[in-house]
């Protein structure tokens, strides 16, 4: 199924809106540290990045694993 241009427009639009809202609303504080790498959870757009790059990361990793571990459906029914 081909996704329409308006669908993409709305999706990007809402995603962009949440990023803008985040800058306007009160700032979050890190739950893990006062300074250094572990304050990253307070960075604006951090959760957006987790969502977007998390998907890409998981899809790529699982495709790589699948190249090794995916077998035909009758794998267990065939003799060795």
């Amino acid at each position: 199924m081909k996704l329409s241009k308006s669908f993409w427009g709305i999706l990007w639009g809402i995603c962009g809106l949440t990023l803008v809202l985040e800058l306007i609303l009160p700032h979050r504080h890190s739950h893990f540290a006062v300074e250094g790498f572990k304050t990253i959870d307070a960075a604006p757009g951090f959760f957006a990045a987790i969502g977007l790059f998390g998907v890409i990361f998981i899809v790529i990793i699982s495709n790589k694993i699948g190249q090794v571990l995916q077998k035909k459906e009758d794998y267990y029914d065939r003799p060795n």
Binding site: E22, D41, G51, G54, I65, L69, Q70, K72
Partner: protein, 600 residues
């Protein structure tokens, strides 16, 4: 009446009630199956915290009704899910399936309300037996094979648990089921037994292997109980054990990666159970007050939305006869209500205004408060993954995507009602969590830490919801961007069950190969040489003895060499066929006797 039913353990109501099911027929049977969980629910609602019910067994005092907040919250959700499932399975005509399901749910309640290790173990094993009966009641070759593998794993887990319990009783002299504080051998064995049922990686593959082979109703029932009773047992027995944080994180990631490679729609959901149980196991490992309350909360909500997803997947399979993503697609027009309910279940996994949002936030908050950065990050990625897989990929390829031209009618009404009950609860808890917080353990503490009114949650603290909203929206964006490389092949993925499915053959061949050297040697020496010689000796002995006598006689009678050879051949043939003339035999005997006589 209520007083009467409040004085017995809820497990008895379902287990004894199940025994009545074969004796009633038709609509009455369905009414009974729907009524029993409802009665059990009322029973749990009315049990006071101090009610107890004990039995004497082998010199132990068994406590069958430890009805505190921990047990009751699991009891509520177990009976609610059973009630909705009984309506969903109204079409089912097999009494055996209802009996197995009710006894299975009853024994799960038995585990949850057990106050001691002995009765816990008895119900634990009853649960294994009745759940395999539920898998087998589909009566197909695939379900029989999966059921066999399932029971082998659970018998193994049960034996480990039994060993641990016996060792524990031997060491401490107490059968009480309280939390384990020392890492003794007994405690570790009990932990292992629990982890098998919790489908902890790498002991997890039995779950996606077996559940999708059950019937539509069977899979809904199975999805709720075994892994959640194990979560309950871990929560009571092993709060704060650090190893559980690592195991939980491994489960969260494993469930996502394998789920994404899967093609069977209920197997995708089975992998997402492993992922979600991973969240609970991790929170048990954190072990704080909030974390343990979050475990109970997430188990509650997870049973509701995973039951809903299994129900809608079962409805799709029943109406289309197909269970593979690669064969489905474009069903939104023909099964709109099923689609709506699956969408509610899917959004409940992560989206705001749903029960999953409430309970998952509690778990992540407890991990945050314990300052566990890396586990927290892994769980966030696990949450993205499970929403991607069970929340987007599954509904998209089933109801949209390429049109499969599968002809299907909307699911029957009773199935839709079953789904509607769970869908309603999923949303209600998300919108007004205040009532839900009240039934949780440490409820006052939870209410002081979490926002409980709608306006507090979603309006006044919108800035706190926004990141979660971003997570969901960008996961959706990522899904559609990655759509061309998200797979749905006609394949299966090798999991740890390979070790006992293919590995068993391999092991057999290795053992055969290594022992066959000895075997072959023994064969060649004992069978081929020694035995053969003994046999040849004993069969030829009579003929040889006779020849020893006869050949000299023939020589005396002046036979030539050729005639002697001919006589020898004749004699051997006669001995083998036992057919000498009587005269010849008697002649030989007389000759032998004479020789003996003269020699003396």
């Amino acid at each position: 009446m209520i007083d009467l039913i409040s004085s017995v353990p809820p497990s008895f109501i379902l287990i004894l009630g199940a025994l009545l099911v074969p004796f009633v027929k038709g609509t009455l049977r369905n009414v009974l199956v729907i009524a029993l969980p409802a009665i059990a629910f009322l029973n749990i609602l009315n049990i006071g915290c101090c009610t107890s019910y004990s039995l004497q067994f082998l010199g132990f005092e068994l406590e069958l009704l430890r009805a505190d907040m921990w047990a009751k919250v699991f009891g509520y959700v177990f009976t609610i899910a059973a009630f909705a499932t009984a309506i969903y399975g109204y079409h089912d005509k097999k009494a055996s399936e209802f009996v197995a399901a009710l006894m299975y749910i009853g024994s799960a309640l038995g585990v949850v309300f057990a106050g001691d290790l002995v009765s816990l173990y008895i119900f634990w094993e009853l649960m294994a037996v009745t759940s395999v009966a539920l898998i087998l009641s589909k009566r197909t070759l695939a379900s029989r094979r999966a059921g066999t593998r399932y029971i082998i794993v659970h018998v193994f887990g049960g034996l480990v648990l039994l060993a641990g319990i016996m060792l524990h009783i031997h060491n401490t002299g107490s059968i009480a089921f309280t939390s384990f504080t020392t890492q003794s051998t007994a405690a570790v064995l009990i932990l292992l037994g629990f982890l098998v049922n919790a489908a902890a990686y790498p002991l997890s593959s039995w779950l996606p292997d077996a559940y999708p082979e059950a019937s539509a109703m069977g899979a809904v029932v199975l999805s709720a109980y075994t892994s959640k009773t194990a979560v309950y047992a871990l929560m009571r027995g092993f709060p704060g054990w650090d190893i559980l944080i690592i195991i939980g994180c491994a489960m969260a990631i494993y469930g996502v990666i394998y789920g994404l490679l899967e093609n069977d729609i209920r197997r995708i959901l089975a992998y997402s159970i492993v992922n979600q149980v991973g969240f609970m196991v991790c929170a048990v490992g954190v072990g704080s007050k909030l974390a343990l309350a979050a475990v109970a909360a997430h188990a509650f909500c997870h049973i509701l939305y995973k039951g809903l997803l299994f129900m809608s997947a079962g409805a799709v399979i029943q109406q289309t006869g197909k269970s593979k993503l690669s064969q489905l697609g474009g069903l939104a027009k023909s099964m709109p209500w099923t689609f709506i309910f699956m969408a509610i279940g899917a959004l409940t996994i992560a989206g705001p205004l749903s029960s999953g949002f409430i309970s998952k936030t509690m778990i992540l908050k407890s991990v945050e408060k314990a300052h566990l950065f890396w586990p927290w990050l892994i769980l966030e990625i696990g949450a993205v993954g499970v929403f991607l897989n069970a929340g987007l990929r599954l509904p998209y390829f089933t109801f949209f995507g390429k049109d499969s031209n599968v002809k299907a009618k909307e699911a029957p009404k009773h199935m839709l009602i079953g789904m509607a009950i769970l869908a309603f609860l999923c949303i209600a808890i998300g919108i007004v969590p205040a009532y839900f917080y009240q039934i949780l353990p440490h409820s006052e503490y939870v209410q002081s830490k979490m926002y409980s009114s709608f306006s507090d949650l979603y309006v006044h603290h919108f800035y706190a919801v926004l990141p979660k909203l971003q997570l969901v929206l960008f996961t959706i964006l990522g899904f559609f961007l990655c759509l061309p490389i998200i797979k749905r092949n006609d394949t299966i993925t090798l999991d740890t069950d390979w070790f006992y499915r293919k590995g068993a053959d391999l092991f057999y061949n290795i053992v055969k190969g290594s022992t066959s050297i000895v075997n072959d040697l023994t064969h060649s020496v004992v069978i081929d040489k020694i035995t053969k010689n003994v046999v040849a000796f004993t069969t030829n002995a009579p003929a040889n003895a006779m020849l020893a006598v006869m050949v000299p006689i023939w020589k005396i009678m002046r036979y030539n060499d050729n005639e002697i050879k001919e006589q020898i051949t004749n004699l051997r043939a006669n001995v083998e066929s036992n057919s000498f003339p009587v005269g010849l035999a008697s002649l030989i005997i007389i000759f032998v006797l004479l020789t003996f006589t003269f020699n003396q």
